[in-house]
C-alpha cells in the first residue's frame, strides 16, 4: 500500500467558505473542494462551515486528493469502499485517495449524504451513487478547467487517466493539481457521465483496505488510546441492578481526584434507566489501574425500586408466554401500553386454513438477551473548558448524537464543540448509543480538566443495551400435496424503538419484526404479529437487529415444515419461492455447501435463507461431534446478493465476521438477570470461539448486474452474515441428532477458561 492513511480529522482550518455552486475554496486559495453528496441539495449547504460538512472531496494544487468522511470505521471497511467508489469515476488510482475522518453536523437535513450515524450496514449502499456522481462531477469540472487552459472546448478531444487530462490531438497534458485552482472558479455541472460498468477498473475488484497497515503495528488510535496533556482517568461504577439509583455519594478514596455521580441524560437512558436517575459514580484518579482499584473497593449504597425483584429470567419468560397466548390489540390513538398486540400483516384467513390442513406444525422459539461485547470497552475522552469549549474523542457510531448531547449537557453552541470520531474496536450497534459519552462529559465538567472515562469489561457486559429477548409462536398447515396453506407468526419482544421514545404505529416496532414480514414464500394466507414485551431491561441495536431474532424463528419453522412434509429442506424452500433472486441465492449456497452430495461421515448440514438491509443471504452449515456441552461447526457456505459488489474481499470478510458473530451468539450468547443484575460479567462466562474452533467459511457473491440501475436498492453486507447462521445451525443439528433446538443458546452453561 501507499502512504495513504486514515487518520482523525485535523484541527479545523479557518476561513473556508461555501460558494453558491456547492464548492469550497480554501483561504489558501487554490483548492477545489467539492461537497460530496447529494448534488441536488447543494443549495441547502450554503452557510454551513467545513466543520459541519460530513464528506467532502478536496483536490489540491499539490495533486493531493482528500476525501473526508463523517461515518465511522469499526472494521467494516466502508471508508475504503467509499474511496474505491470515488476513485472509479474521478479516474484516479485508489491509492491516491487520502480518506480522513470528518466531524458531525447538526444541520438537518444534513448538507451531504454520507451517514453520520454508522448503522444499518448503510455506508456503502447509501453512498454508492453519491460517491460516483461526486467523482464524475469533480472530474468534468477539472476537465473543463483544462479545456479552458488549452483552448479547445471539444470534450471528445480529451482523455483522462489517473488524474491526468490529455488533449489527444497534440498530447498536451494537465494534471488535476495543475487545473485545481481554475476549477475552483467554475460552476460544476449538475450531472456528469459515469464510467460505464463495462469499463470498471475498481468497482467489483478486491483492493486493500486503507486502515490495515495501521492495525498491524499498534499505531491505529482507538478511542481508548486517546491521551491529552494533563488528562486524568475515570472509571465508571454503575448500580449493579438496572433501575437502581445512588443512595449517597461516597467520599473520595485516598489518592483519588474525585468521585462524581453521573445521571441519565435525556435521550440516553433506555427502559429502566429513567432521565435524571443517578445510576453510576465515576472515580477519577491519576491512571487507569489505581483508579479502577479504588472503584472496585469503593462501597456504594444504592436504592433499588421494589420492581427490581421482578427483573429476572423467570418473570420475563412468564410474561412472554402469557402474551403469546393473549394480548390486547393496538388501538389507534390509544395508550397502547407494553403488552400491546400489533398486526403487521394479515392476508387471507390462515387460522381457518391451518385448521383445515392435512398436517399442522406448531412451535415456540425462545431467544435470550445477548450482550454486544465489543473488544474495545466503552470509553470516551473529554476536554471541557468551562463556558468556552468542549472537545470530545469517542469511538462512536453516532457522531451527530454526540454533538447534540454535548450541546445539551454543556449549553455550548455547536461551534464551540469538536467531536473526534476515533477508530472503533468493534461497534456492533452498541457504540451507536451515547450513554458512555454523557458520563464522560459530566465527569469532565465536574473535575474541570481533561478526562478519559473507561468502562471496565464487567461494566460493559452488565450495563449493555442488549439484543432483545424474544419468544415466538409460529403455526402453519400443509395440504396433502405439502403446500403451505396458512402461516401465523407472533413475536413477543421488548421494543428497541419504544425504549427510545419512538411512538409505535399500528404495525408496532419495525425493528422488532425485521426478517419476519413480507417473506417471499408462498404461504397461501398469513398473519404476522408483534407484541411489545414489558421488560425494562435496556435493549438496543445488535448486529442485524430484528433479523437476528426473526430469521431464527422463520427459518427454523420452515425446516420443521419440510420435515413434516418429508421433503428435502433446500428443495422445500425452493418450491415455496418464486423470486428469482432468492432462488439464485439459495441455489448458490446449496452448491457451495455441496448440498446435493452426502456430507462426510458423522456430519450433517442445515440450510437457511433470509434478508436484511436489502441483501439476501443463504447459509449452509455443516456440523459434527455433538455432545451435551459442545458441537463442532466444520463448514459454513454463504451466498449473498447485495446487488452491487464493490469490494468482494471485504464482503467476504464481513460474511466471515457475521457468521462468527452469529455462531458465538447461537452456541453461547445469553445474558441472564437476577433482581435486575446481569449475571455474565466477562468473557469467562460469555464464551466465544477461539481460532482452533473456526469453521471453514466460503462465500459466494451473486455477480453484480451488467449495468447497475439506480432504481434497485443496493444491499448491505456488514450485518448480513448473522441472521441465517442460527437457524441453519439448528437445522443441521436436527438433521444430525433428530432433536429440534428451539431455545437459544445451544449451550447456556458454557464457560471459557483463562489462559
Amino acid at each position: 500500500m501507499s502512504a495513504t492513511t486514515l487518520r482523525p480529522r485535523p484541527s479545523k482550518t479557518a476561513s473556508h467558505k461555501i460558494g453558491r455552486r456547492g464548492f469550497l475554496a480554501t483561504a489558501g486559495g487554490f483548492t477545489l473542494t467539492f461537497l460530496v453528496p447529494d448534488v441536488t441539495r447543494l443549495s441547502e449547504a450554503e452557510g454551513a462551515t467545513p466543520g459541519q460538512v460530513n464528506a467532502w472531496l478536496n483536490i489540491g494544487t499539490d495533486e493531493s486528493i482528500t476525501l473526508t468522511i463523517g461515518s465511522s470505521e469499526m472494521g467494516q471497511g466502508s471508508f475504503s469502499g467509499l474511496a474505491q467508489i470515488l476513485a472509479e469515476d474521478l479516474m484516479v488510482d485508489y491509492a491516491r485517495i487520502h480518506a480522513v475522518q470528518g466531524g458531525p453536523t447538526i444541520a438537518s437535513p444534513a448538507p451531504v449524504g454520507t451517514a453520520i450515524n454508522t448503522v444499518g450496514s448503510s455506508v456503502t449502499r447509501t453512498n454508492f451513487w453519491k460517491m460516483r456522481d461526486a467523482g464524475a462531477i469533480a472530474r468534468e469540472t477539472l476537465v473543463q478547467a483544462a479545456m479552458n487552459q488549452i483552448g479547445d472546448q471539444t470534450r471528445a478531444n480529451y482523455a483522462v487517466s489517473n488524474g491526468v487530462i490529455t488533449h489527444t490531438p497534440d498530447g498536451v497534458t494537465r494534471t488535476y493539481g495543475q487545473v485545481a485552482a481554475d476549477a475552483a472558479l467554475l460552476t460544476p455541472p449538475s450531472t456528469a457521465p459515469l464510467v460505464p460498468d463495462s469499463q470498471f477498473r475498481l468497482i467489483g475488484t478486491t483492493v486493500p483496505r486503507l486502515d490495515i497497515p495501521l492495525k498491524v503495528n499498534g499505531s491505529a488510535k482507538y478511542g481508548i488510546d486517546v491521551r491529552i496533556d494533563g488528562m486524568c482517568y475515570a472509571v465508571i461504577k454503575h448500580c449493579p441492578s438496572f433501575g437502581g439509583t445512588l443512595a449517597a455519594t461516597p467520599s473520595k478514596p485516598s489518592g483519588m481526584i474525585a468521585v462524581v455521580p453521573t445521571k441519565v441524560i435525556a435521550g440516553t437512558g433506555r427502559g429502566s434507566e429513567a432521565t435524571g436517575n443517578v445510576n453510576a459514580v465515576a472515580v477519577v484518579g491519576p491512571n487507569t489501574w489505581d483508579t479502577w482499584q479504588a472503584a472496585r473497593r469503593l462501597q456504594v449504597s444504592w436504592n433499588l425500586p421494589a420492581s427490581t425483584s421482578s427483573l429476572n429470567n423467570t418473570q420475563f419468560l412468564a410474561d412472554a408466554q402469557a402474551l403469546l397466548a393473549s394480548a390486547t390489540p393496538y388501538v389507534a390513538g390509544g395508550a397502547n401500553p407494553a403488552g400491546t398486540l400489533y398486526t403487521v400483516e394479515s392476508i387471507g384467513a390462515p387460522n381457518d386454513a391451518i385448521a383445515a390442513s392435512a398436517k399442522t406444525v406448531d412451535a415456540v422459539y425462545s431467544l435470550p438477551y445477548v450482550a454486544h461485547a465489543c473488544m474495545e470497552v466503552l470509553n470516551c475522552t473529554v476536554n471541557y473548558v468551562a463556558g468556552v469549549s468542549c472537545e470530545i474523542w469517542a469511538p462512536t457510531q453516532s457522531s451527530k448524537a454526540v454533538l447534540q448531547l454535548a450541546m445539551t449537557i454543556t449549553g455550548l453552541p455547536a461551534s464551540a464543540i469538536v467531536v473526534h470520531t476515533m477508530y472503533l474496536g468493534g461497534g456492533l450497534g452498541r457504540k451507536a448509543e451515547v450513554d458512555f459519552v454523557s458520563e464522560a462529559i459530566q465527569v469532565a465538567m465536574a473535575v474541570n480538566r481533561p478526562v478519559k472515562l473507561m468502562w471496565p469489561r464487567e461494566e460493559d457486559f452488565t450495563r449493555d443495551q442488549y439484543r432483545p429477548m424474544a419468544m415466538i409462536h409460529a403455526r402453519a398447515g400443509l395440504d396433502n400435496s405439502n403446500n403451505v396453506t396458512g402461516w401465523t407468526y407472533r413475536n413477543v419482544s421488548p421494543s428497541i424503538l419504544g425504549q427510545r421514545g419512538v411512538p409505535l404505529g399500528a404495525k408496532g416496532d419495525s425493528q422488532g419484526i425485521e426478517g419476519a414480514q413480507s417473506l417471499p414464500y408462498n404461504f397461501g394466507s398469513r398473519l404476522t404479529e408483534w407484541v411489545s414485551h414489558p421488560s425494562p431491561i435496556p435493549v438496543g441495536f445488535w448486529r442485524s437487529v430484528g433479523a437476528s431474532i426473526n430469521t431464527f424463528g422463520v427459518e427454523s419453522m420452515i425446516d420443521e415444515l419440510a420435515a413434516a412434509a418429508g421433503a428435502d429442506p433446500y428443495q422445500f424452500r425452493r418450491a415455496l419461492l418464486t423470486d428469482p433472486r432468492w432462488i439464485a441465492v439459495l441455489d448458490a449456497a446449496a452448491n457451495l455447501g455441496n448440498w446435493n452430495s452426502p456430507p462426510p461421515s458423522g456430519r450433517a448440514r442445515g440450510i437457511a435463507i433470509g434478508t436484511a438491509f436489502n441483501s439476501i443471504v443463504a447459509e449452509v452449515v455443516e456440523i459434527s461431534q455433538v455432545t451435551t456441552s459442545s458441537l463442532r461447526v466444520n463448514r459454513v457456505s454463504v451466498a449473498i446478493d447485495c446487488y452491487v459488489s464493490v469490494n468482494p474481499g471485504q464482503i467476504q470478510a464481513q460474511m466471515q465476521g457475521g457468521v462468527v458473530h452469529g455462531l458465538n451468539a447461537a452456541l453461547y450468547g445469553r445474558q441472564n438477570f437476577v433482581n435486575g443484575a446481569a449475571q455474565a460479567k466477562n468473557f469467562n462466562n460469555s464464551r466465544m470461539i477461539r481460532l482452533q474452533e473456526m469453521p471453514q467459511i466460503d462465500v459466494a457473491i451473486i455477480p453484480s448486474p451488467a449495468a447497475a440501475s439506480r432504481t434497485v436498492n443496493i444491499g448491505g453486507a456488514g450485518e448480513l452474515g448473522v441472521p441465517t447462521f442460527a437457524p441453519a445451525l439448528a437445522n443441521a443439528y436436527f438433521k444430525l441428532t433428530g432433536t429440534r433446538v428451539r431455545t437459544l443458546p445451544f449451550f447456556p452453561a458454557a464457560t471459557m477458561s483463562d489462559l
Binding site: 490495515i212 466477562n682 468473557f683
Partner: protein
C-alpha cells in the same frame, strides 16, 4: 511510590508507580504511552494484552510490572521498526484485521510462537487470542507459511 526500571522495545524507562503490582498493561499504556497493547478482559481470557517478555508471550493485564524489571519487554510497537516482521507482512497480505483491536495481541502471540521456532500449524494450535470480529480464517491463511 516506587520507581521501576523497565526495558521496553530496547529503550529504558523509569516509571513511578503507587503500587508495584500495577499490571504491566497499564504501565505501558498510561505511564509510558505505548497504547498499541490493548485492554480486553483484565482476567487473562482474551489475550488482547499479549506482549513478549524475554521472548515469551505474556498477558500484560495480569503481569505485575515489578516482575518485568530486568527483563526485555517487546510490544507491538517494537515488533519491527517498519511493519516488516513476517507476521505483520502476512497480516497485510491477507488483509486480516477488521476492527483491529485484538490484532496487536494476536500478532505478539504469533511472534512469540515464531520466536520459539514454531511454524504454520504449530502456531495455529498455540494462539488462543480472542477475536470478536471473527478474523480467524484469514489468520489461518496468514500463519500458514510462517
Amino acid at each position: 511510590m516506587t520507581t521501576l526500571q523497565l526495558n521496553v522495545n530496547g529503550q529504558n524507562y523509569s516509571v513511578n508507580v503507587n503500587n508495584p503490582d500495577m499490571p504491566l498493561l497499564w504501565v505501558l499504556r498510561d505511564l509510558i504511552g505505548l497504547t498499541g497493547t490493548k485492554y480486553g478482559c483484565g482476567i487473562e481470557v482474551c489475550a488482547a494484552c499479549t506482549v513478549l517478555i524475554d521472548g515469551q508471550p505474556e498477558h500484560s493485564c495480569v503481569y505485575d510490572a515489578s516482575s518485568a524489571v530486568g527483563k526485555k519487554i517487546v510490544t507491538i510497537e517494537g515488533l519491527s521498526a517498519d511493519s516488516s516482521h513476517p507476521a505483520q507482512q502476512a497480516w497485510i497480505a491477507n488483509q486480516v484485521p477488521q476492527c483491529g483491536y485484538c490484532q496487536s495481541g494476536m500478532l505478539m502471540s504469533v511472534a512469540g510462537a515464531m520466536q520459539a521456532g514454531h511454524h504454520g500449524s504449530e502456531i495455529l494450535s498455540e494462539v488462543q487470542n480472542l477475536c470478536v470480529c471473527g478474523t480467524y480464517q484469514r489468520i489461518r491463511q496468514a500463519v500458514q507459511y510462517l
